[in-house]
Amino acid sequence: MKIKHLIAAIIGFLLMIPQAHAEIDAAKAENFIKKTTQEGIVEIINAKASTAERDARFEKLFNSALDLNYIGKFVLGRNWKTASSEQRERFIDAYRKFNIKTWSKRFDEFKGKEFIFKSTSPSRSADQIFVNTVVPMDNADPASVVWRVEQKGDNFKIVDIIIENVSLAITARNEYTAFIKKSPDGIDGLIADLEKKIAQE
């Protein structure tokens, strides 16, 4: 074995130690999603508040329930490694604003709907779990919504939502990787495009 490989193996081993998390608490993870969806439905969708007030509440819920730093890093994929820290920051900021804008609009679709909880499934990562839910639909089969939840200490965060077998994070990563590959401005081009979409009415 070359010395380089040996050093890499040792560093790799050392890096693994602080990442050895305790097993995620499935019941608590499910409760976290119950609380989050309940808050979203009661205090935002069904609330008799102005649009501005509801948007502000949604933004607060979105920021507290999702780990956007983790998701942002995932959706940039291998481009995260080559991005400068300034680009990473700008991307996460644009991605956060873009998602808040698109999802506050989509959220109304859940008016009058409820989430039915269907247990949890394990993940390959010890500190993550899938919380399975279904949403009954009018004139159609129930829609499946799976929440990927991570635990950090006593805190829980959503890191992906899989709607009808389509992962939002994986879709965004495929889309952004393709965009960056084609765009002459690379990541900067992607950030500019997202900012343009945020500014659009």
Partner: protein
């Protein structure tokens, strides 16, 4: 070169590209070109037709039209349930077709559903998946949209296994009219249901082709995992790989 030969050459070319997830080189160039063409056809033909259809019908009428379309496909569901070894579902499906075609006035009313005979849609694509036929690469067909080799074969077989097609075969005078009419009605009805969703996706996408391709292939993972040898735990396919954070 005859049409059949051209199709054979295209299929052979696609089959050489064994991974459904590899999308580069000539196949991607072709797919993106065809995708753009389909989007234009959608913008100027299918989408306006779907909007018009919505304007002149009520939600109730559209529901009955969907029931009618589904009933026409019911014999194909039955045959595929049987091929997949689902005897219970085969009986339910046969009973549904008999009841809905008669008491349900040609399928416009889903009477059977009210009697507890629940609809369970399937197709030849799923039958092939059950027998572990690989999915093959992703490609965009002119006007028909995204497919994999297996879903394309499944779509073609499902198309010729409906009563509309058999009826058309027996009477050449009406063959084209009936099968094209049914295909058009199915396409417009399906497009009408997706009006808002597709607009939303397109507006919020930085590369719509990649979004559609990714969503289409992810959606097939569940079906692909029904083959016994690749059976995976639910949700497991959506795990983030370690290499994602290299």
């Amino acid at each position: 070169m005859s049409k059949k030969k051209i199709v054979a050459v295209i299929l052979a070319g696609l089959a050489l590209n064994t991974s459904a997830y590899a999308d580069d080189g000539w196949l991607e160039t072709y797919n993106r070109g065809m995708f753009d063409f389909n989007m234009k056809a959608d913008k100027y033909v299918l989408k306006p037709l779907a909007k018009g259809y919505r304007a002149v019908t009520t939600p109730d009428v559209r529901l009955h039209v969907r029931d009618f379309i589904s009933n026409v496909k019911e014999p194909s569901f039955s045959a595929n349930h049987l091929l997949q070894g689902n005897v219970d579902k085969t009986f339910v499906s046969v009973a549904r077709f008999a009841i809905n075609s008669t008491l349900g006035l040609g399928g416009f009313f889903d009477v059977a559903e009210g009697w507890g005979l629940k609809k369970s849609e399937t197709g030849f694509d799923e039958t092939l998946a059950r027998y572990c036929v690989p999915d093959g690469p992703f490609f965009v067909a002119p006007l028909f949209g995204p497919f994999t080799i297996r879903s394309g074969v499944g779509y073609a077989v499902d198309g010729v296994s409906t009563p509309v097609y058999w009826g058309a075969m027996n009477d050449k005078n009406y063959s084209a009219k009936i099968s094209y009419g049914f295909a058009a009605l199915s396409a417009i009805s399906a497009r009408e249901r997706g009006l808002e969703l597709l607009d939303d996706l397109e507006q919020n996408s930085v590369d719509f082709y990649s979004t559609v391709r990714s969503a289409y292939l992810q959606n097939r993972q569940k079906m692909n995992s029904i083959c016994a040898s690749t059976n995976a735990a639910p949700g497991y396919d959506f795990d983030f790989d370690d290499e994602d954070y290299d």
